[in-house]
């Protein structure tokens, strides 16, 4: 999977390293901005209020 991705990246090795790093950063950014905040909703840490269970 990652080997195929590496082969698909264009340019010489130095270029590929840079591209891979950028891809990784983009993935981490998407996780932190959207995926993790969404997943957090189903964990109990945010429940600090008393409510009617609504």
């Amino acid at each position: 999977m990652y080997a195929a991705l590496w082969r698909a990246l264009p340019g010489p090795t130095a270029m590929k390293v840079l591209e891979a790093a950028l891809l990784l950063l983009a993935v981490v950014w998407v996780l932190f901005e959207w995926v993790f905040p969404w997943a957090e909703q189903s964990l109990p840490f945010l429940d600090v209020t008393v409510d009617d269970g609504q």
């Binding site: 999977m1 990652y2 981490v28 996780l31 932190f32 993790f36 997943a39 957090e40 964990l43 109990p44 840490f45 945010l46 429940d47 600090v48 209020t49 008393v50 409510d51 009617d52 269970g53």
Partner: protein
């Protein structure tokens, strides 16, 4: 390089997927334990600055009558007070109190249950705060003791409450917010404060509730209460 057999190729993909999931889970832990606090601390700073800025008002014209005890004006999602708890000085000190208890509100400091009284009013000034992640101002709630002071600073006044009892309740126990907790029909004569947070810290099956009573009100034209004087 000799081509891999289909079985080994499949296994290698499965292995990479599993390693990836492991890394994503580790990142999620880092997000929860570190990043949510970094983000919340930043938002709390902004909220504190907004509160302090909102207190700076043009001087009243001479003709306008200055009310003796002016209730703070509140709008949803906007901070209107700062809270100080000497016992929890590392986590609750000039912490903004935002009007509302949504997730967004609670990331900016402490949240005021919008249907409850304002500081100093007869009834119950009820406030919620995170205990784990997202700023976690009440992370050390277990250190509170009866007799501890909670000071609330508004535009014009300092309100000092003394905590007197706590209780662990169910999330559905909304009576804890009543003007007279436990007596829904009573008319409040005292000004109370209620703090709620999750319990146990990392599970939240219950809520930890602290109640206190207003013991002192001082104007901001005088010195701050001893509890917050550094």
């Amino acid at each position: 390089m000799a081509p891999l057999s289909p079985v080994r190729r499949t296994l290698s993909v499965v292995g990479e997927v599993l390693i990836t999931l492991g890394v994503v889970l580790a990142l999620f832990v880092a997000y929860q334990l570190v990043w949510t606090n970094v983000r919340a601390d930043r938002e709390t700073e902004v909220a504190r600055a907004e509160v302090e800025e909102s207190w700076i008002r043009p001087p009243r014209s001479a003709s306008a009558q200055a009310p003796a005890a002016e209730a703070p004006t509140v709008q949803p999602g906007v901070g209107f007070a700062l809270m100080y708890i000497p016992r929890l000085r590392e986590s609750v000190w000039a912490t903004p109190v935002v009007h509302g208890v949504t997730s967004a509100d609670l990331t900016r400091g402490l949240g005021h249950y919008p249907t409850t009284a304002l500081p100093g009013e007869p009834g119950n000034f009820a406030v919620a705060g995170h205990r784990a992640t997202n700023g976690e101002p009440l992370r050390d709630v277990q250190r509170l003791q009866p007799g501890d002071l909670v000071v609330v600073e508004t535009a014009d006044q300092w309100f000092t409450y003394r905590l007197d009892r706590d209780r662990i309740v169910l999330p559905s126990d909304v009576w804890v917010l009543d003007p007279v907790p436990g007596d829904p029909t009573a008319t409040p004569t005292q000004a109370l404060i209620t703090l709620t947070t999750c319990h146990p810290r990392w599970e939240s099956a219950q809520r930890w509730v602290w109640w206190g009573t207003l013991v002192e009100v001082t104007g901001k034209d005088g010195p701050p209460p001893a509890a917050v004087a550094t």
